[in-house]
């Protein structure tokens, strides 16, 4: 009997091997889409399938939310990539050989992320997340320009800091669980650890959580550990930027939340909430101000990702069913919107042959339809109604206001600052006299429009089934 979660993990890895063997990049791109489609179908199957807890894999309401988004955005990104990446060969930025490598690595990365998401073993979770991270390091350096290599190197150095600290934290959690759960696999099994948390040594848990927070927090992009994030987004291929912002940051956040659930089970240990609230707020406000000085459009939205991850960490730090619900919803909305925006940025970069904001003027004159779609996407991410991001941000702020009125001012302030910056930059790109070249855009607009429609639909009407599902997931978070 094959389980859906096995397909979700295994299909991308198998596809990666197959893609390595396919020489033609056009067939490779199609195979990439097909494999991502299979994974997405398995992800959907998981939603309607049964929940299970095994020695190595876990399927509960909480991780299904992440897996669904992961496989969905993986699929749409593969679609976008298939129509986009041919252009990179024409302009000579990539060779067919590096594109074959790119497709295989894309699948390997998806498989590793899914592995981290279904793992019930904290060691396995770490392995999945680290593999995904290291693959993205290679992908960021794919263009092999000095800037790309510089970005990949910086990413590698900071990611390795995260790798080591998170692993040390994982060892500490194992040591904490060992006296009650015994040596070996049980003391690394997340579900058993969570159940036994109340009997663990609080001193070790404290220490472990600090290491895990810094280690996985580096990957979430929390300030002041975010330095890799803008470079990695700006210099890598655009589909990878979409996956980085939309998915990898989420998976890191997911790992952090799993450990928060363990530590929260021991009342004598430190309360993860306040630390996460502070780190989230610092990231949110810092990133919002940084948005004003950006000259590169991908860097701009990379900082916007830091801002939104900060808001999510803040929401999960607040805790409680409502704030967790809002945080999960925001995670979903941000993933869809931000990857959609990066698809749009890919279109713009092809149209203008540049990703510098100064070179992208007058889009409304040269590419009116692209300009409208992009403007709507930026409206969505800056939290304007009727898009779903507005709903989730509104929920986060109102639940905070109900509990800690003064505290709600800080995220509200950060969001307003970020809003202003994004609209300013949007104005620069959409209006004004067109400068520079205006090429035809070959990339498909279907993925971007699809994401926008989903976010719009979620903003207008959230189906009760979806609300109930997210609510159950939020309850698991405690």
């Amino acid at each position: 009997m094959i389980h859906a979660y096995q397909v979700v993990v295994a299909a991308p890895y198998v596809a990666a091997l197959v893609l390595l063997a396919i020489p033609g990049y056009r067939i490779g791109a199609i195979a990439n889409v097909a494999a991502s489609g299979v994974t997405f179908a398995a992800g959907l199957w998981l939603v309607f399938g049964e929940r299970s807890v095994g020695d190595y894999a876990i399927v509960d309401e909480f991780n299904i939310v992440f897996i669904t988004i992961n496989t969905l955005v993986g699929f749409t990104t593969a679609l976008f990539s298939a129509s986009y990446i041919g252009h990179e060969i024409e302009t000579g930025r990539l060779t067919p050989a590096s594109l074959r490598f790119y497709h295989a690595m894309f699948q390997a990365m998806m498989g590793s992320m899914n592995l981290a998401l279904v793992a019930n073993n904290i060691g396995l979770m770490w392995v999945g997340l680290e593999l995904a991270t290291l693959i993205t390091v290679v992908m960021v350096g794919l263009y092999r320009t000095p800037q790309a290599i510089e970005a990949a190197w910086k990413y590698f150095i900071l990611a390795s800091v995260g790798i080591s600290l998170a692993f040390f934290g994982t060892i500490l959690i194992y040591l904490a669980g060992q006296p009650t759960l015994g040596e070996g696999v049980p003391a690394m099994t997340w579900s058993l650890l969570q159940a036994a948390a109340a009997r663990m040594d609080p001193a070790i848990l404290d220490l472990a959580f600090i290491f895990l927070l810094i280690g996985y927090g580096t990957k979430v992009g929390l300030a002041p550990l975010h330095a890799w994030l803008p470079d990695a987004h700006a210099e890598g291929p655009t589909p990878i930027s979409a996956v980085l912002s939309g998915l990898l940051l989420n998976v890191a956040l997911y790992a952090l939340l799993r450990f928060k659930m363990i530590v929260a089970g021991q009342p004598a240990a430190l309360d993860p909430g306040p630390i996460m609230i502070v780190m989230g707020l610092v990231s949110l406000i810092f990133a919002a101000f940084m948005l004003y000085q950006r000259r590169d459009i991908k860097r701009l939205f990379a900082y916007s990702s830091i801002e939104h991850m900060g808001l999510m960490v803040f929401a999960f730090g607040m805790g409680g069913p409502l704030a967790n619900f809002a945080g999960l919803l925001h995670m979903a909305m941000h993933s869809l919107t931000k990857s959609g925006i990066f698809f749009g940025v890919g279109h713009i970069a092809q149209a203008k042959g540049s990703q510098r904001i100064a070179d992208i003027k007058g889009l409304s004159v040269t590419h009116p339809r692209l300009a409208v779609a992009f403007a709507l996407a930026v409206f969505a991410i800056s939290g304007l109604p009727p898009f779903g991001v507005f709903t989730s941000e509104f929920l986060i702020l109102t639940t905070t206001f109900a509990r800690e009125p003064w505290l709600a001012l800080l995220p509200a302030f950060g969001l307003l600052v970020g809003f202003g910056a994004l609209l300013m930059r949007l104005q620069d790109t959409i209006f004004g006299e067109p400068v520079g070249p205006a090429h035809r855009v070959d990339a498909s607009s279907v993925p971007m429009v699809l994401h926008l429609l989903l976010v719009l639909a979620a903003g207008i009407y959230l189906p009760p089934a979806l609300v109930a599902w997210f609510r159950r997931a939020a309850e698991l978070l405690g």
Binding site: G92, T95, N121, G123, L124, W126, V127, L131, L134, V138, G141, R144, P146, I149, E150, A152, W153, F156, I157, S160, V161, S164, F167, F168, I171, Y174, L175, A176, Q178, P179, E183, G184, V185, A187, M188, D201, A203, I204, D206, L207
Partner: protein, 219 residues
Amino acid sequence: MNQVYDISHLLAGVMLVTSFALLYQQRIAAVLNAFAAQSITLALAVAWAAWSENRPDLFITALIAFSLKGVVIPVALHRTVARLGIHREVEKVVGVGAALMVGLALTALAQALVVKIAQGPASQAREELALALAIILMGFLMMIVRRNAVTQIVGFMSMENGLILAATGARGMPLVVEISVAFSVLIALFVFAVFVFRIRERFDTIDIEALDRMRGDRR
């Protein structure tokens, strides 16, 4: 039983000393030798744990540490460094004295953090954990104070030595073997990546054209 701990602590202590050596060595060749010494000590420490705790799977980890990180990678790096003619390159980002002082402070910090774990079976692993954490932190320090791809990679690998030591110290931790294998493969990959992609940007003393020809540049 005490002797078992004494020997494992001794080996972990020697690893920490090599970490200090990594910090103050000025020539790249000497850094590589210090790293090889550290990896071989790690192999001994892991082998000792495998023998004294009767965990034969750890012998694989020890073997990997010895062959790959004790011999193959240092030799490969030595050769590359010699071929590129950068073995005399002296880096002065932070003075040796300052770096050593920070290293001492980090070691003290590691002790202070881990000493809180007072009771239970974990307390046996405590000293080894403290030493391992010190090695990890010194690896970071090395990555920060060195501005050269080779020494940064060595800093990373030394950090990873500390991680494997910590994982070995945690009794009965599964996946140690798997993780060390995965890690070593990744390191080999990155060592490779450094020399294929990165070299041109970091070592501006090198004849760039020659390297371009070497990788069959496309433009």
